[in-house]
Amino acid sequence: MISKIAWKNTWFKPLNTFLSIILLTASVSIISILILLQKQFEEKFSSSMDNIDLVLGAKGSPLQLILSSVYQIDAPPGNISYTEAEAWMNKPMVESAVPLAYGDNYLGYKIVGTTENYTKHFDLKIQQGNLFAKDFEVVVGSNIAANIGLKIGDTFFGTHGDVEEGEVHDHHAYKVVGILVPSGKVADQLILTNIASVWHMHDHEHKGHAEEAHNHSAEEPHVHTEGEEHHHEEVNPHEGKEITAVLLKLRNNMAKMTWPRIIPQNTEMQAASPALEVNRLFALFGVGISALTYLAYGIMFISGISIFVALYNTLKERRYEFALLRITGATKFQLLWLVLLESIFLCTIGFILGIVFGRIGLYFLSVSSQEEFKMAFDPFEFLWKEEGMLFVATLAVGIVAAIIPAIKAYSLNISKTLANA
């Protein structure tokens, strides 16, 4: 019955209630989005980083190299010579090496030329069909298969560059021969083929439209620079060919430490450590996330003040209500509980709405980040520990805000209140 009074009172002054709930909802939804984002972001980054000790790529920003090669987010810093890279890939300290060659996309999904090693490295399984065996055969990630409905046997033309609106390579069609099992890694969003396919796709183009291709590479120098040197015929099939990056797993810890220094000194390449760069990235993100978290806790603090003011302001008019409850036999403790309960109700409603709106917000964020970065977030994941803590924090704010009004109600002098009525 006390809870019924508290519940009815909550809705009797809807304006006060509304303000407090809006503030609470805002802070809880921001915090829950941040919690989910941070966790899922780090999970995605860490899972894709497994097994990669170093990444070989063109000189430039190491972070850009890692982002482009491991996470397929940024454009690569440039290309490297395959022969030069091969020299390092074949060293005995290398346990496995995965070469990557970029150039094209299909509807915005990157087509990556690589070897079988890519699937081994990231522990990817084929759901249907086989791995690519011949040129222009591709294996597509599970999200692509689901989103654009590619099936085994389908063919499509790649688009030059990394944006959907580029020039279409309409002379060679790719053919889907396999679909990957969902892994939660970037491979879900990739189209994999062999390196030769990427080379051939562009060979043809440059033979056919050399001039045009030249213009093209001038426009997008970092995506597709191999075109510039392509005209002369090669003896060694790999001689003069270019790739974008190589993912390396090393046997030797010493090499992990020394290669990042040795390689740039002796070659036109650099070797970057994903662990190091991603930590740097998290540190950068961390500042932003902490700032937003502080902001959200600030809003929660303000909502606490709003609850306090709302309860405190109504104390004066409600003291007769309290006196009435006491003369009908209610104890002091029941009055204390009534006031606390009203605040707890507000906080619970605010928390539930906050979690719901946070999920909705994350869903829209996920839709747009999937369009822009091919990175999806799961809005339906519940982090019981973190969000439980958030609920406890919200309740604590409510209880602290209500404690002074509740004690005032508890210690109300009924005789005096009634005598002065």
Partner: protein, 209 residues
């Protein structure tokens, strides 16, 4: 049944009240009159256990209420004392019916909904039970107060100026209603008032001075 002996009370060293003894058996009505400042409301609060006397005894239903600790006194007040106040106070957010039922829940932990409905019906409020108290007239609100005071069959009904905000006609109706109900429920009724209109209605009177 309510009895007092040698009850004194002081707000400060200069302001002391010495109240005449009261003995009001079940079913009887006692009118306590007096001018402002003679301690009428103070006496009523003493009888209701809202104030502690400096000395003396107050016995309700053979229970010395001064022997009870705070929590027991709250419970005893809920079960054995019905209070009707000068102004009508309500839980504004609850309906008329819920306001009356609330008193039964606080005192006995059970919701006497049927009984509340029948009392409200007796008091002519049948059509208003689901309204909010603020939607009723002052006379109707006072009757809801009476219903709330009666819901737990109290031994004692304490009424503080129950008629002062009512017009002549309603004042007499409410006063008679109270005294009839006290007889019907076998409660002792103590009315504290300066309302001269009631003096002619009741035989048992005490004047404070």
């Amino acid at each position: 049944m309510i009895k007092t002996q040698n009850v004194t009370f002081s707000y400060s060293a200069t302001q002391k009240f010495h109240f005449p003894d009261i003995d009001c058996p079940n079913g009887q009505t006692l009118l306590v009159t007096g001018n402002s400042g003679t301690g009428k409301t103070t006496l009523l609060h003493l009888l209701g256990g809202l104030l502690q006397p400096t000395a003396g005894n107050i016995t309700i239903n053979n229970q010395d209420i001064l022997q009870l600790n705070a929590a027991k006194l709250d419970a005893f007040r809920g079960q054995s004392i019905g209070m009707i106040l000068q102004k009508s106070f309500f839980i504004e957010a609850l309906s008329v019916l819920d306001n009356v039922v609330l008193a039964s829940w606080i005192a006995k932990k059970s919701k006497a909904k049927e009984k509340a409905l029948s009392i409200l019906d007796n008091l002519g409020l049948k059509d208003h039970v689901h309204k909010l108290p603020s939607q009723l007239s002052i006379g109707q609100q006072q009757r809801v107060n009476i219903a709330r005071a009666l819901i737990n069959n109290p031994s004692v009904i304490l009424a503080d100026e129950p008629t002062s905000s009512l017009d002549d006609e309603n004042a007499l109706i409410v006063a008679r209603l109270l005294s009839d109900l006290a007889k019907e429920y076998q409660s002792s009724l103590i009315i504290v008032t300066h309302d001269q209109r009631l003096k002619s209605l009741f035989n048992h009177q005490i004047t404070l001075s």
